[in-house]
Point group: C2
Chain length 410, copies 2
C-alpha cells in the first residue's frame, strides 16, 4: 500500500476490541503501511486532532500479545454520532482535511451499530466528493446485535464470562441454603437483545442446574407470572436463581427497572441508562414471598473481563481487524467485515464483507424459536449457536499475580 | 488411625474451602481412616443426621482435582451457633450420640471465627465428659480476620480476584471518558476488616494507576472529605476510581450505607447485612459534583470465583486440611491449624497449631501503619504482605468452555 492507515475504537468496551486493533496494526504493517495511526477516543478525538503513531506503543511481538489481552479500548472510545452530511458539511470537511494531511489510505473503525453509521456517512461523503480514502468497519459489541454477521467479536468472551460467573453464583447460593430459601436475581447487560442474558444458560451441565428461569428482553415480562413461577420453584428447591436482562419490559412497554428507582440518564444516542432491574425484582420477591433474596449485577466486568476471554473470540477479533485492512487495500469502502459460519460442529468460520448500508441501525434479536415456548429458557438451537464461541482460553500474562495490560501513556 | 473422620464446612463460601476438604479427605485416607464422612450443612445438618460417605463422591484423583477447583461449600454450609454448654446440654448429648454411632475419632470443621467457637465448645464438652473424639478447626475466610494465623485460606484467591477485577474496571472506565468525567465507586466485602478492600491496591502497577482512593472500615469515613478529595482528583483526571469497604462507618459510628437504603436483615450471629454503600456514595457524588457515576459491587463473585483462584491459596488450603487430620491423629484437640509465614521473599510458609480458645471471636484488623497517613491508601507493608498470597493460578478443568465442578448429587 502507498498511504497510511488510521484506526479508531468506538462504543462500549469489550474484552477483545484491542485484539481487533492488534489485527489491524499487524496486517497494515505486513502490507507495507508507512504509518499506522490510532485516533484517540474515536472520531470525536480525531476531530480534535487527537491521534498517535501506534508504532510508538506497539514495538515488539510481546506488545501485540499484551494488546490482545488488554480489555476496553486501548485508544479510548467515544459515543459520538456524526451529523447528517447535508446538516453540517463543515464537520466532514474538517475530518477529510486531517485525513489528507496524514495521507490516510485506509480508515478503519472498530465498533457496533452506531460506529457503522460513522463508516457509512464517511464513505458516502468520500464517494460524493471524489476522495480516495477507503472506510471499513470492524464489528465489535458484546451485545451480538449486529445484523448480517453470524456473531460479533466481543460476544463470545462476554458469554464465556457470564456462563462461568453464573455457575459460580449458583454454586455460591447452593452452598449456603439449608433451612432457608434464597432467591438470586442475576442482571445481565443487553438493552433490547437477549444474547448475553441467554448466555447464563451455558452454566447448565452435568454438574449444574443452570438458572431456573431466564428472561430475555425480546418477550414481554409478566411480573405476576414471574412471582408465581418463583413460588412454584421454591416448593421443589431451596435456591432459585433467575437471570434477567437489564432491558426487560412489561407488556405495557415499561422497563421493569422503571417500576423501581431507575436512573434518568440518557446517553448521546438517546439510550436510557438502565440499572436496578435485579434490585427491584429481588425486593419484590422478598416482599411477596418473604424469603431471603439477593441481586447480582455482573456490571462492567461482563464486558471487560479479559482474564477469562474466549480464545476463539480473541482470534476472530484479530482476524476481522486484519480482514478490514485487506479489504481497504483491495479497494473496498463503505463495508463492514462480517463473520460467516461454515459449520457448527466442527466449528468453522470465515470472514466476508458486506455493505454497511445494510447494517447500520438494524438490531439482531434472539429468534423466537431459540427461546422456549413459555419464554423462560433457551432451546438447544441457541446453545448450539453460542457454544463454539466460548471455546478455549487465552491466558493472561501474569506479573506479580495480576494480568498485565498494554497501556497507552499519554 | 482406628476410627473414622467427619468433616464439615461452615460460614461464608470461598474459592478454596473445598481444597481444604480435599486435603482432609486425602490425608484421612492416607492415614488409614475407614470412613471419611462429610456432614451436610455443617453442625446444623449434622444435628439432623445429614451426612454422606465422601468415598461415594470422591472416587478418583481427578475428583480430588475437581473438588479443589469447585467454589462454595461442596457439603453445604450453615450459620449455626451452638448454645453454651450449661444452657443446653441436650444438643451436645445429641451430637456426641451421633459421633459415637459413627465411631468418629476426628471431627474437622472448616470455617471462620464462628466455626472456631463450635470447635471450642465441642472440644471443651469432650474433655469435661471424657470423650475421646478430637476436634480440630481449619481456618477459612475470605475476610482474613482470624487471629494468630498469618492469613486465612480463601483470602489469597479473593484478593487475586479483587485485584484483577479492579484493574479491569479501571481500564473499562478509562477507555470511555473523553469530554466527560466519570467517578466509579467499587464496593468490596469485609464488614470490619479492610483486608479485601485493600486488595484493590494490587491493581496498581506500571500499567495501571490503581484506585485513586481506598477506604477501609478500620478508620472513620468522612463524607465531606471524601467529596473534596474526589473533586480535587477530577481536576487532574477524568476517570476517578474509589474502592470502599461495605462496612465503612462515619465517626458517629453509623454505617455509610445506612445513610442510603440499607437492608434491615440481621443474620443468626446478629451481623447486619450491608449493601448499597457504593450505590449511596455514587448517588451522592452525582448530586454533589454533577458528573456521571457508577457503582460496582463485586458481590458473591469475590468469594466464589474459583476460575481465578490463587495457586498458593489452593495449595495452602489443601495443606491446612491435611494438617488438621494429622494433628487430630496425633492426639490434639481444641486446636486450629494456622499458617506461619517464614519469609516474604522468597515466600515461605508452614503450618502450626494453636489453641482455639485464643482465636474465637477475636477479629484481626489491618494495622494502622499499613494504611497511609491520610487513611486513603495502603502502604508497601500491606502490599509486601499480600502479594505472595495471590501468586500462580490453578487452571479450571474446562468442559465445553465452562469450568467443571465436582457436584454432590443428593
Amino acid at each position: 500500500m502507498k498511504g497510511n492507515v488510521i484506526v479508531g475504537q468506538s462504543g462500549g468496551p469489550t474484552a477483545v476490541i484491542n485484539s481487533s486493533l492488534a489485527g489491524v496494526y499487524r496486517t497494515a504493517k505486513d502490507r507495507g503501511a508507512k504509518k499506522v495511526y490510532g485516533m484517540l477516543h474515536g472520531i470525536q478525538g480525531f476531530l480534535d486532532e487527537q491521534y498517535v503513531d501506534l508504532s510508538d506503543y506497539i514495538k515488539t511481538d510481546l506488545d501485540v500479545e499484551l494488546l490482545k489481552r488488554t480489555p476496553s479500548a486501548f485508544l479510548g472510545s467515544c459515543r459520538y454520532k456524526l451529523p447528517e452530511i447535508h446538516e453540517d458539511r463543515e464537520v466532514y470537511e474538517k475530518i477529510f482535511g486531517i485525513l489528507d494531511k496524514l495521507d490516510i489510505e485506509c480508515f478503519i473503525y472498530i465498533g457496533g451499530n452506531d460506529s457503522m453509521d460513522t463508516i457509512k456517512k464517511l464513505s458516502d461523503y468520500a464517494i460524493v466528493t471524489g476522495k480516495t480514502t477507503k472506510f471499513i468497519g470492524v464489528p465489535k459489541t458484546i451485545d451480538n446485535d449486529l445484523a448480517l454477521t453470524d456473531h460479533t467479536p466481543g460476544f463470545g468472551s462476554a458469554a464465556k464470562y457470564i456462563g462461568t460467573a453464573t455457575k459460580e453464583v449458583i454454586r455460591d447460593a447452593m452452598g449456603l441454603v439449608y433451612n432457608t430459601d434464597i432467591v438470586t436475581i442475576i442482571e445481565v447487560m443487553g438493552r433490547n437483545a437477549g444474547w448475553l442474558t441467554g448466555a447464563t444458560a451455558l452454566s447448565k451441565g452435568e454438574d449444574c442446574d443452570g438458572p431456573d428461569l431466564i428472561y430475555l428482553p425480546e418477550l414481554a415480562f409478566d411480573i405476576d407470572n414471574f412471582i408465581e413461577r418463583v413460588k412454584e420453584l421454591l416448593q421443589k428447591k431451596k435456591s432459585v436463581v433467575v437471570a434477567v436482562s437489564e432491558g426487560i419490559k412489561t407488556k405495557e412497554g415499561k422497563y421493569v427497572c422503571e417500576y423501581g428507582n431507575a436512573s434518568d440518564y440518557v446517553d448521546a444516542f438517546g439510550h436510557r441508562q438502565l440499572a436496578g432491574t435485579a434490585s427491584f425484582l429481588s425486593n419484590l420477591v422478598a416482599a411477596e414471598i418473604g424469603c431471603k433474596t439477593r441481586a447480582v449485577e455482573f456490571s462492567t466486568l461482563q464486558r471487560s473481563a479479559s482474564h477469562l476471554a474466549s480464545r476463539i473470540d480473541v482470534n476472530e477479533a484479530f482476524q476481522v481487524g486484519g480482514a478490514a485492512v485487506k479489504a481497504a487495500v483491495e479497494g473496498d469502502t463503505g463495508k463492514m467485515i462480517v463473520l460467516k459460519r461454515v459449520s457448527d460442529d466442527p466449528y468453522q468460520c470465515t470472514t466476508d464483507i458486506c455493505d454497511v448500508h445494510k447494517i447500520s441501525n438494524v438490531e439482531k434479536l434472539v429468534p423466537r424459536d431459540w427461546i422456549s415456548r413459555d419464554g423462560t429458557y433457551l432451546t438447544q438451537k441457541f446453545i448450539s449457536y453460542i457454544e463454539p464461541l466460548i471455546q478455549g482460553e487465552l491466558l493472561p500474562v501474569q506479573v506479580d499475580g495480576i494480568p498485565r495490560h498494554l497501556f497507552l501513556q499519554k
